[in-house]
């Protein structure tokens, strides 16, 4: 029987080896197509094909168009509208792209034999850093140096400010860390737990073959199978929810800087 290696599913290996190139700032960059890159490309292709075929703009939407419009409204009317307000409209494409990409990467990662791109900390950290940089750029573009008011809540005494400002600064810089860790941790945690219960099915079944009292193992093995199915459903919910949470936190962070001057 193969060794139980719950972390092997997250290993990256090259599918197509390409030569490395030297980029001025980043140094040596390996451009090989790994399984992670391949599944990211598949996700992007699924999204592109789906929305290109669905976005026909018919007055009476078909099934595909209705689904696409529902997803778009979820972000447009459900997230940016209530959270940022009218000033959030320019950010809808960005937030919707984040939502769609993360959701599709999470969901195809659940298919047996596939690779979960969002289980790589490098991927989630890149997405989080991108969000973080956009928040900073938008903050300075909209408010100028007034951006620093973000760290000093209004109506607070000077003594309290001495304590509050460092806390606010730290929590601001922890945002991309938590954003990246949450997605990464949820995906890795969920897949490891599913893997462990899947191995229980086989190992307990094999143990039950000894006969006698050990045949109770068949019961536990069956229970593990039920557990795996239940976990699969849970993970499907989590996959969509985490994408939604990532998008809604991006909205909150953007709202902080966009509506800084009139306390939303």
């Amino acid at each position: 029987m193969a060794a139980i290696e719950p972390m092997n599913q997250f290993l990256i290996h090259k599918l197509v080896a390409l030569p490395a190139v030297d980029v001025p700032v980043l140094g040596h960059v390996d451009l090989s197509i790994t399984n992670s890159v391949a599944f990211m490309m598949i996700s992007a292709a699924i999204i592109a094909v789906f929305f290109l075929s669905a976005a026909r703009g018919a007055v009476v939407p078909g099934r595909m168009q209705a689904l696409a419009e529902t997803l778009y409204d979820l972000v447009d009317k459900g997230l940016t509208g209530p959270m940022i307000g009218d000033r959030g409209r320019p950010f809808v494409p960005f937030i919707f792209t984040l939502f769609a990409l993360i959701a599709v990467m999470n969901i195809i990662g659940l298919a047996p034999g596939s690779f979960t791109v969002t289980s790589q900390l490098a991927v989630t950290a890149t997405l989080a850093l991108m969000t973080f940089l956009i928040v900073i750029v938008v903050g300075f573009a909209r408010n100028g140096l007034g951006f620093f008011k973000l760290f000093a809540p209004s109506g607070v005494g000077i003594g309290m400010l001495l304590i509050l400002v460092p806390i606010e600064v730290i929590s601001f810089f922890m945002r991309p860390v938590t954003l990246a860790m949450r997605l990464f941790g949820n995906m890795v945690g969920g897949h490891v737990v599913m893997y462990m219960f899947a191995t229980f099915i086989i190992s307990l079944g094999a143990f039950a073959m000894h006969g006698g009292l050990a045949s109770l193992g068949f019961l536990a093995s069956g229970l593990s199978l039920v557990m795996v199915i239940a976990l699969m459903i849970l993970e499907l919910i989590v996959a969509g929810l985490q994408a939604f949470v990532f998008a809604s936190l991006t909205c909150t962070y953007l709202s902080d800087v966009v509506n800084l001057d009139h306390g939303h």
């Binding site: 860790m181 949450r182 941790g185 890795v188 939604f244 949470v245 809604s248 936190l249 909150t252």
Partner: protein
């Protein structure tokens, strides 16, 4: 051992999530018409609470897999 101990941080996240969803449900029962409007806030609170639990998971993973 250390990794297992690190996962005790999940206790807090579990309790926090219980309080969060319990209070949401209680509020939703009292005023069902306002429930839909507060759902984004619920998910936001869920995400922030969950993050602290996930931190302990990440610490556990680091203890298990990072060779110093």
């Amino acid at each position: 051992m250390g990794a297992g101990l690190a996962m005790t941080g999940m206790i807090g996240a579990g309790a926090g999530l219980g309080i969060l969803f319990g209070n949401y449900l209680q509020a939703a029962m009292r005023n069902p018409s306002a429930a839909a409007g507060e759902r984004p806030m619920l998910l936001l609170g869920f995400a922030v609470t969950e993050a602290l639990g996930i931190f302990s998971l990440v610490v556990a993973l680091i203890i298990l897999f990072v060779k110093v």
